[in-house]
Amino acid sequence: MSTTDAGSGWRRLHPLSLVFRIGAAARNLLLPGLALLFVSRGQGYELWLAVLFVPAGIAAIVSYLSYRYRLGDDELVIQQGIVTRNERHVPYARVQNVDLVQNLIHRWLGVAEARFETAGGEEPEAVMRVLSLAEVAAIRTRVFRDPRPRAGDAGGAEAVVAAPVEEPLYRARLRDLVLLGLTSNRGLAVVAAAFGMLWQLDVLGFDPERFVRDLGRVDPSVAHLPAGPLATVLVALAGLVVALVALKTLSVVWTIGRLHGFELRGRGEDFSARYGLLTRIAATVPRQRIQRLSIQRGPLHRWLGKASVQIETAGRSGAGSGVERLWLAPWIDDGALAGLVARALPGIDLDVREWRPVAAGAGGRILRKGLALAVVIAIPLAVLSGLAALVVIVPLAGLAVLHARQWPRHARYVLLPDAIVWQSGWWTRRTSVARYEKIQVVAQIQSPFDRRRGMASIHVDTAGAGHVGHPFVLRYLEEDVATGLSGRLGDEAGARAFRW
């Protein structure tokens, strides 16, 4: 359906884009609109609503009409704007991924949003909202110069995404996603969003104090609970359990919504992944562009012999970009892990015996740090509630001791011929792998505490390393080891050219 100016090669977005643009504008104006309804108390609000919505609608139409793109020989050219005309050139060679995002309405109408991710930015380089699926397939073919002919696009989304030579590598069952959800705390995001909603309600006249007063009236039993420290502890524990169950339930729901029907396929050397319950995402990841690979194993993983594998490609880092760091396999058998890793990082074998430990004094430092933290928490608690504070402090100190004993046992690293591997964490164990080729900067940092104990840490910086996940920071190394390591990593990285 996209209109093509024959000759010049300029194309427009799918006409439905107009509908989505107006819809987005309306959604942005929903809250001010509602506020207006309240403020004007129903008098003359139509006029004000028109004042709000009509310019937004016109802007949407203008922006649709002024947006056009062209698939050049080796670059994508996008023109937009009327007053300030902006022409953006995105060379195909710099495009890391073309991701396809489809929410429910998109799927119903057979269109999709295409995001072009390039390196060196958290935001996608270009977002084309929306295109027909056939158009997306054409653009993808052009961008990645796939020499193989494609199957006809008669089957809608499925056929478009699937190139003929794709081979299935991994598929997540619903059970896998439930288990993954149990290990994650993504429910916190939902809770935060709920708080945000409450905040918004507050703006519109919600009175939390009255709400709590009313709650007391509805449930007077709150006032008749048995008193005493034991009861307090029991109530606190019950509250904790309820909160935990709610958090995990939300996390499971979140994970299923996000990753439902996760499927990983190999396309020649590269990967393509499809997932999502309501919003379907189809992402293509060229193997060359994997900057870092992380494996996560929590207690539940270890108990069931599973692992979760994520990769980072440049230009992708969660916040803002809508598509997050990519799962390679959300919940995979330990046995199948090596094969998958070998496919993503050829020539890298994680089954090594030459692991190097962190400094011998690491445990002592972690213990002192943990106990100091416990004391800092203990002082105000003790002032407030006297001896009852022991209920919190003793387990906290115990945890500090346990952490100090366990952490150094499980923290280790190894230099492979082509990559560095760092493993840390004892409760949730994480392993990160970065090829020397992908290391951007190596920093050796020494805090005053490090200096006193003759230690240092090494920060390995790669493109697209998000702030969440497993930090690639080798902590508590002996100083001379760290110096040697940072020199070696610098040399190894310097000896290799960097291709995105």
Binding site: P448, H459, D461, A463
Partner: protein, 165 residues
């Protein structure tokens, strides 16, 4: 050619003039803080009709704070200078910095995306510059080397760009 002179694999200190530049910048900051807080204090005092002793005490406290900030910005730059250095060798560039938290940042040549040479007004008056090296990294997406001679900064930049192409 200046470009080859910077590649010697020897650790070099910053330009000693950077101490003066830092002190001037510190003096400007201290003066700004001093004037700003004094203004706020005067308004506050006029509004609350204090006794003479209160006025004297508050002014003394203000003087002590500003003097401490000024003293710090006078004494700190030599420490910074002593703990800062840079080195360029065949594999890349290393920048050492930090008095309490010490860091040694290594940037391989092949990872330099682009560079900026920046000069503030005070730096310009002393012929100094700040070199900013950009990489594709995240945590260290840009690394600054402040307090080197302008011509040194240009030479390093030329070298990094030559090597890159």
């Amino acid at each position: 050619m200046l470009g080859s002179e910077v590649v010697e694999g020897v650790e070099r200190p910053l330009d000693p003039r950077s101490i003066t530049v830092r002190r001037i910048a510190g003096a400007i900051t201290s003066a700004a803080i001093g004037v700003g807080t004094l203004g706020a204090l005067v308004i506050r005092l006029i509004a609350s009709r204090p006794t003479r002793t209160e006025v004297m005490l508050l002014l003394l406290a203000w003087l002590a704070t500003v003097a401490a900030i000024a003293a710090f910005s006078w004494l700190w730059p030599p420490h910074r200078f002593r703990h800062s250095a840079w080195r360029i060798d065949a594999s890349g560039m290393r920048i050492r910095a930090g008095v309490f938290w010490r860091s040694i940042v290594s940037i391989p040549h092949a990872r330099v995306q682009h560079t900026d040479v920046r000069q503030g007004p005070v730096e310009r008056a002393f012929g100094l510059a700040t070199l900013v090296v950009h990489t594709a990294g995240t945590e260290n997406a840009s690394i600054e080397l402040a307090g080197i001679a302008h011509e040194t900064a240009l030479a390093i930049r030329d070298h990094l760009i030559d090597e890159h192409n």
